[in-house]
Symmetry: C2
């Protein structure tokens, strides 16, 4: 049973409230994180029974908090005959994602289905999500914040909220800031996914292609300047090929996030950054 | 551009408003229906620009109306230099689905992603959706309504809202009513999908298994009584094997509906009911 208080009780017309402000529960089943249930929100104060009628047994659980709202208070209730132990601390370095509303989880149906949560479960590595709806413009203060984390690698996840000029101005300084603290940690730039609508809307398509071309050109300039361990992932295939991965042409559904997670995992393996799983 | 008026302006906390009361637009691209965009609802009266900046060309479009609300008025706006033609009428028989909230589309992110819409696009056959949230109990009046349609085949899609007793009472009379009008049209019974939570919640699991066992037993009784062209589809594998297909353990997300559509298509092909594509 979980009780939680929300900061804003936010609503959006293209994302389920379970994703915006619900809570997901998973448990570890033979080494694999398995979904159990989602606590559905009903207002600022919420109270939901996630699961009952179980065989008594010690299990490892994982809880995902709201994607698009803050939690000001959280209480977890158990049967009076059960108890809860502190989790073990991982000694693996985390993966850091920095990006847009898509990175933040728009529009997963529930918190466990944003790609960073899926990748975290599949790789057994913590993913730290710096996704900012309407933002993610590679700004200097964020670059500084991110570089405070000793990451396995950094993922710059999408450019949808940037102009080509902003990409030109911010991408190389972002790398310089991270490199000033982390000489060799991989930094991965991922192109922005194309809007489904822009298959027909040529003006939108041209604007999106121009951003990705600018990102590619900045990446080539980084390589020319001698920066090492910088990688580039194109958007093609990032959400499959059938144009069914989004709720609005832009934001991913659970289907889209599932495909995007698998796509990024394949790309991470191709560039061999997931092999670097050393302890801190 | 689309303007639409809603009957209820309904809301639910585990389904995006785009799915509850939005409108989806697709176009036919080399014989394949391709998603363009979703009109996002903002209240009882809605107005949304679905796509612009296109190359002028004659295209075939398909629009999906809200899954969980009524539409009392609908207006479609075009450029003043464009025009709209009447669609061609298909001479293929439709597939009729009768079932629960899942059949009705809970909880697809947008109307085009309920399994009946996906199956309709993939088979190029109309799917008539008799999904009733909280209902779908094989009632006699519904059996009579459904049997008025000359279908390619009938799908009895899930038993989640029935007790084993109701299944025992209603399943055979349902077949008798359809058979009184359609001597040989295939009738397919599909088991109810198991709740993800019921992997741990043993009480819920036992209740769900009891329903499916009753359905199986009624199916065997139909066969014993000599009814022909009755088929049975088990729930195993219906939403994949990773427990990630739902928003609340029960209702399918776009990921779940995508898997369920592929699962049913495979089963339909196995029992060879999709080969019967004769004209009316």
């Amino acid at each position: 049973r979980v009780k939680w208080e929300l900061l804003n009780d936010a609503k959006m017309n293209h994302m389920a409230e379970t994703g915006i402000k619900g809570i997901d529960l998973y448990f570890k089943n033979n080494g694999i994180w398995q979904y159990i249930n989602t606590a559905r929100p009903s207002g600022k104060s919420n109270d939901f029974l996630l699961v009952g009628n179980m065989n008594p047994s010690m299990r490892e659980y994982k809880m995902y908090l709201p994607l698009y709202d803050g939690v000001t208070n959280l209480e977890i209730g158990l049967d009076s005959t059960s108890n809860i132990l502190k989790p073990e601390r991982t000694n693996k370095k985390p993966i850091v994602f920095y990006g847009t509303s898509i990175t933040q989880g728009g529009c997963a149906s529930r918190p466990g289905m944003v790609h960073t949560s899926i990748i975290s479960r599949k790789l057994a590595v913590e993913c730290i999500n710096f996704g900012f709806s309407g933002n993610g413009r590679m700004e200097k203060p964020l670059a500084e914040l991110i570089s405070e984390i000793d990451a396995l690698f950094y993922v710059m996840d999408g450019t949808n909220n940037m102009t080509p000029e902003q990409i030109h101005e911010n991408a190389i300084p972002l790398v310089e800031i991270i490199r000033s603290r982390h000489a060799a940690t991989p930094i991965i730039f991922v192109e922005g996914l194309l809007n489904d609508r822009s298959y027909l809307d040529l003006k939108t398509r041209n604007a999106e292609v121009a951003k990705n071309e600018m990102l590619k050109s900045e990446y080539q300039e980084m390589i020319r300047r001698g920066f090492k361990n910088i990688y580039y992932i194109g958007q093609a295939g990032g959400k499959g090929s059938d144009f069914e991965s989004t709720v609005d042409g832009v934001h991913l559904t659970d289907l889209g996030f599932s495909r995007y997670a698998d796509f990024l995992l394949k790309e991470f393996r191709r560039i061999k950054v997931t092999d670097r799983k050393r302890g801190r």
